[in-house]
């Protein structure tokens, strides 16, 4: 049920994201979802790509620091209150969202969101018990 996300450390300098995306493009890797967290000095670029291993190798070759983290991809109803419903389920059992971001393209009529939880397995279980669709890793990379 878990999805592997890769993250890259970037200094806050112009052209760095362009460079990362350039390296991925040259390796024929497709970025499925992406988010950037930043401070005044540095940023962390998080991505779901269609080939983690290839992406990691390509980036490391160019001296980037690459981390891997498990996240969860969740189907969110594409209508008012869709996200609220999911967050509310988690809130009731005191599961904290470390960060979240949206997927590039929707899956049929539903949106897809990426969540990072500290208590990942527990979050997946709770969501499934409440009828929320958690998308399998393999499916996400090629969604």
């Amino acid at each position: 049920m878990k999805v592997e996300q890769i993250s890259v450390f970037l200094e806050n300098k112009s052209g760095r994201i362009a460079e990362v995306t350039g390296i991925l493009a040259e390796s024929g890797i497709n970025i499925r979802a992406l988010s950037l967290a930043d401070t005044s000095d540095f940023g962390v670029l998080r991505m779901i790509v269609d080939n983690n291993q290839k992406a990691e190798e390509a980036l490391k070759k160019q001296n980037f620091t690459v981390g891997k983290t498990f996240v969860v991809a969740v189907e969110v109803e594409d209508k008012p209150g869709g996200l609220y419903k999911i967050l509310n389920i988690l809130h009731k059992v005191s599961i904290n969202v470390e960060y979240m971001y949206a997927f590039v393209q929707p899956n049929s009529s539903n949106a897809v969101m990426i969540f990072r939880f500290e208590k990942l397995d527990e979050a997946v279980r709770v969501l499934q018990e409440n009828g929320v669709v958690v998308i399998d890793g393999d499916k996400v990379y090629t969604l």
Binding site: S7, L10, T65, G67
Partner: protein, 433 residues
């Protein structure tokens, strides 16, 4: 004014006779009371009785900072703790400081030498001394303090920091002599200007500056801004503290070493060979009157040269050239000794792998700033910004706690720290001295 005319102007021959007598007495004493020296002499196959001339000093092995560290904290003391009345310390290379002790007589000697130094720098008993050297474990503050009292001048023990209050004291108390680090002095000048206080209206005549490297151009800047005569003072806690050597305000050309208390040598730092007068090398000191913490051929790592020519001030003691650098990688940041290896050990404790880092030292508004760049490898990396920010804070806090110096920590991408021939460049010192 010469504080101690008899000793400070003593003819060479008489001075050397005193040096030899005092050297022999010191060697006998350390051999009998400090196991470290006894062992070292035995390993070199010599006994103190074999030192029959000043030139024989070359037979004795050197003492290094590492030796002092190995004997932390009191292993190098040559008297029982009962006789130690004061302890000072300076920062060491691995977080542990170098500890030095003084007997009551040592404090008396130090006071005498600081009284001589203040006199050489222009002070008299009628002066008011504004002492902005830090008071505490650092020898600067208390060294000047005791010397000023010995001289009979009035001392204001203002210590470092709280700059605005210092300016008000300067205005209201009318001090005539300033003692401080040169960089702090320039900072004082700037703050004074911001407060609308002109040094023209203050009563300063002379300034005695040291505890960090500075240059002729800094001297000119200080003299112009403060309308004073500025002299260079030298000392290190291992040898005594400030007052080992000082420039006379008459010549301002090299620092007279108080040779009736210390024997200086210049050596080739690679071979250990003693170099003749005039040649540049590493400064080595032997203390010949200290009781609690004698040092025998202590390698200072400071680069200088000795000049035996007579001086216009009348002092007969040899002069050392302004220290032009170090034979190791020690940095002095706001008066605090910093070794890159100390930063490395802080990072090692966090990372547990060899860290890639670089120290960047700048001087902004006449205050030294230290930035530590740390490459983020996989061990340090987290996909959460909060963790990375906490890491920066932790490194900064550990450096402050262990080294006593504030550092701005900046995380950088791997392989961005410049490497020359595969070796990372650990220090970039942008200070223009």
């Amino acid at each position: 004014m010469i504080f101690n005319i008899e000793y400070e102007t003593m003819p060479r021959e008489a001075l050397e006779a005193i040096q030899l007598r005092r050297l022999q007495a010191t060697l006998n004493r350390v051999y009998a009371t400090v196991p470290f020296y006894q062992k070292k002499f035995e390993e070199a196959g010599i006994t103190p009785s074999e030192i029959r001339s000043l030139a024989d000093i070359q037979k004795i092995p050197f003492t290094t900072k590492q030796d002092l560290r190995d004997n932390y904290p009191f292993g190098m003391f040559a008297v029982p703790m009962d006789n130690v009345v004061r302890i000072h310390a300076s920062s060491g290379t691995t977080g542990k400081p170098t500890v030095v002790g003084y007997t009551a007589r040592d404090i008396g000697t130090w006071s005498e030498l600081m009284a001589r130094s203040l006199s050489a720098g222009g002070a008299t008993r009628g002066d008011i001394i504004h002492n902005a050297y830090g008071y505490g474990l650092f020898t600067g503050g208390l060294g000047v303090h005791y010397g000023a009292e010995k001289l009979g001048a009035s001392i204001i023990p203002v210590s470092g920091g709280n700059t605005k209050r210092q300016i008000i004291i300067m205005k209201d108390f009318g001090p005539t002599i300033l003692t401080a680090t040169p960089s702090y002095t320039l900072h004082l000048a700037e703050v004074a200007e911001e407060m609308g206080v002109s040094f023209k209206d203050l009563k300063f005549k002379y300034g005695i500056f040291g505890a960090e490297p500075w240059s002729e151009s800094m001297r000119q800047e200080i003299e112009n801004k403060l309308k004073i005569i500025a002299v260079d003072i030298y000392g290190l806690s291992e040898v005594m503290g400030p007052g080992v050597a000082i420039e006379c305000h008459e010549a301002k050309a090299g620092l007279h070493i108080y040779e009736d208390h210390f024997i200086p040598e210049i050596i080739n730092p690679e071979t250990g060979d003693v170099l003749p007068y005039g040649e540049t090398g590493e400064l080595v000191f032997t203390s010949i009157t200290k009781e609690a913490f004698p040092v025998i051929r202590y390698r200072t790592r400071d680069i200088s040269a000795l000049n035996p020519e007579p001086c216009i001030c009348g002092r007969s003691h040899v002069r050392m050239k302004r220290v032009s650098g170090r034979t190791d990688d020690m940095l002095i940041i706001r008066g605090v000794n910093v070794f890159p290896s100390q930063i490395e050990s802080v990072l090692m404790q966090i990372d547990e792998v060899e860290p890639h880092y670089q120290l960047v030292v700048d001087r902004k508004d006449n205050l030294d700033t230290l930035s530590v760049l740390v490459e983020v490898g996989e061990q340090l990396f987290s996909d959460e910004v909060r963790n990375l920010q906490n890491l920066e804070k932790k490194i900064s806090k550990d450096i402050k706690e262990i080294l006593g110096v504030s550092a701005a920590v900046k995380l950088v991408e791997p392989k961005t720290i410049a490497r020359s021939e595969g070796k990372a460049i650990r220090v970039i010192d942008n200070r223009k001295l």
